[in-house]
């Protein structure tokens, strides 16, 4: 049985991820993820998989890298000007840990985005699957369920 995870370590790790996004430190953000990681924003409530049903975002390493590279391009129009964002995380709760030491963590979030004179608010629940890497964690999977994923949304050009 793996040693039970330290809640404080997990909280700090998730806060760190949020901060990297809010500060547009996308390369460092990418470094938090494993090579086989997935970053998933389902379209449907309780969506079972990202292959048979579309997703607001479903990125593997290949598409995550491309997405991060796109931020740097001067003609990423939907990010010109770049969004300012603020992530608020709460209810951080480790769910279980597997024999491989991987930890599933649930959290709730509110994200405020401001761009081009408009403000958007996203909210929902996250599930991270964290694996041990050296002294800390890496993200093997992140799932973000927006409360309005099935509603009419403006284009999402940021990372949640």
């Amino acid at each position: 049985m793996a040693e039970s995870p330290n809640l404080r370590d997990i909280e700090e790790f998730l806060y760190h991820e949020a901060r990297l996004l809010d500060e547009h430190r996308y390369d460092e953000w990418l470094d938090l993820y494993t090579d086989t990681a997935t970053y998933w924003v389902p379209l449907e409530r309780s969506q079972k998989d990202p292959y048979e049903t579309s997703s607001l975002i479903f990125d593997d390493r290949k598409l995550m890298e491309a997405r991060v590279r796109q931020f740097r391009h001067p003609r990423r129009h939907a990010q010109t000007p770049a969004s300012r964002t603020c992530h608020m995380l709460g209810h951080i709760e480790p769910l279980d840990s597997g024999d491989d030491g991987a930890v599933r963590v649930r959290s709730n979030f509110i994200l405020v985005e401001f761009r081009a004179d408009r403000q958007f608010i996203y909210g929902g629940a996250c599930e991270h699957r964290l694996v041990h890497s050296g002294a800390g964690y890496k993200i093997a999977a992140k799932r973000i369920d927006l409360v309005n994923s099935e509603g009419v949304l403006d284009g999402i050009s940021i990372l949640l």
Partner: protein, 438 residues
């Protein structure tokens, strides 16, 4: 009419330009809802969304809430989603299955063909309301083509086949690609909105002049992406599609671009990536091809797969990608706000991998978080903002002007794939609808 201060339409549309009011004037928008969306055939969905009696989905027709059902006799019905009693919307669910619809206000109950079945405490009425013709009103005209459901709010007008003209062949293309000869809506519905007039999307979908510029950043990001990066398969499809948008200008110019009566248009296809196009015989498609050949034989299979089209625009509310199994229905909200619902289709009888590819393709092309679509939406918003300027009243649409030539089945073809013939044609249809008073 003059009391509404509507300018003459001939003052707003010239051979090579249109007035910005067509995108920005709220009064013209209201008139469009009446004269254009109130008359044209509008795409509502597909019969697979109401497969069995009692199946239903809700949507809008020219902003009005409607209910699409399969009635007990097996007919597709399009009913105004409004109680004939006091006016409440009767069904609030997006889709489902039910023996009847009951209004939440006073419990009036309707069968799936719209007939009023039950009125609680009916004895207080001097006459049984069921005898007064009170019901969920049917819309004036409903028709289907190859399983696609259309409706018109006008009792009179061209029949659906006349309306579609040559565009019907794109619906044929979509359905013919299914080994079992049938397709179905599957894989979820994206709903996105943009801060711009409804016309901007229709103009953009056959605009092959824009990808190199609007999509420069996703093309760059994909081209720079290492081929050996780990992928679930979904990112692979996305990166390939983003790269494909970076084909050189002569490819865009060389594409066919056809227009037809009533504002429709379709463009040829620009793909040469074997993993994205079944006709190019990548091994991934071997099982799919075999399934098609089993039904049709190799010659017909080549014919079916050889149809090379990207977008087809059915003016004024739908665009679709017959080859890539994507369909979008637009919903005008206000003069400067538009919602778009996008659907994927499963080819019945095709191997499971085909649908997984469709889902990945949908995500990158129509997804609300797509690195591609989001840049289109941003440009629609910029156009809408730019058109508020009073210093320049005109939108210039002269690209390829003078080069439009008559072509097969009453179509016209642009002299270049990047011609703006399709936009000029949309405004010709616009003027046709708008100049006829009710």
């Amino acid at each position: 009419m003059n009391s509404l201060n509507i300018p003459k339409f001939s003052d707003l549309i010239r051979p090579d330009r249109v007035h910005r009011a067509l995108y920005t004037d709220p009064m013209l928008f209201e008139l469009e809802m009446d004269r254009l969306f109130g008359r044209a055939w509008l795409v509502l969905g597909h019969e697979s969304q109401v497969r069995a009696p009692g199946d239903f989905f809700t949507t809008r027709l020219a902003r009005q809430p409607v209910l699409v059902t399969r009635d007990d006799g097996g007919a597709v019905r399009v009913l105004v989603n409004r109680c004939p009693h006091r006016g409440a919307v009767v069904c609030t669910e997006e889709r489902g299955h039910t023996p009847h619809f009951q209004c939440g206000y006073h419990g009036w109950t309707f069968s799936c063909d719209g007939a009023l079945k039950h009125v609680p405490m009916a004895n207080a009425y001097p006459e049984d309301p069921r005898g007064l013709g009170l019901r969920l009103a049917p819309v004036p005209r409903v028709a289907t083509y190859r399983g696609f459901i259309f409706a018109s709010l006008a009792a009179n007008g061209p029949g659906l086949l006349d309306f579609l003209g040559y565009m019907r062949t794109s619906f044929d293309d979509m359905v013919d690609r299914a080994p079992d000869g049938e397709i179905e809506v599957a894989g979820g519905v994206f709903k996105h909105a943009y801060d711009g007039n409804w016309k901007l999307m229709l103009e953009n979908h056959n605009d092959t002049y824009h990808p190199a510029h609007v999509h420069a950043s996703s093309i760059y990001a994909a081209k720079e992406q290492a081929d050996d990066t780990p992928t679930t398969g979904a990112g692979e499809i996305a990166v390939r599609q983003m790269r494909q948008n970076g084909v050189p200008p002569d490819v865009w110019d060389g594409l066919g671009l056809w227009t037809a009566a009533y504002g429709h248009s379709l463009m040829g296809d620009y793909h040469d990536d074997k993993r994205l196009v079944a006709a190019l015989k990548d091994p991934t498609f071997a099982a799919y091809r075999a399934a098609l050949e089993k039904r049709h034989g190799p010659r017909r299979t080549d014919e079916i797969l050889g149809v090379a089209r990207f977008n087809t625009v059915v003016y004024p509310n739908c665009t679709f990608m017959s080859q890539f199994r994507q369909l979008r229905i637009l919903h005008p909200i206000t003069v400067d706000r538009t919602a778009v619902y996008t659907y994927s289709f499963r080819l019945k009888g095709a191997p499971p991998q085909m649908f997984r590819d469709t889902v990945a393709f949908a995500n990158v092309v129509n997804g609300t978080g797509s690195p591609v679509l989001t840049d289109d939406l941003e440009l629609y918003a910029r156009v809408q903002q730019g058109l508020l300027t009073q210093a320049n009243d005109w939108v210039y649409l002269g690209r390829g002007l003078g080069g439009d030539v008559p072509d097969r089945e009453q179509t016209h073809r642009g002299n270049l794939g990047t011609s703006e013939i399709h936009i000029r044609n949309q405004f010709a249809a616009w003027a046709h609808y708008m100049s006829q008073a009710s």
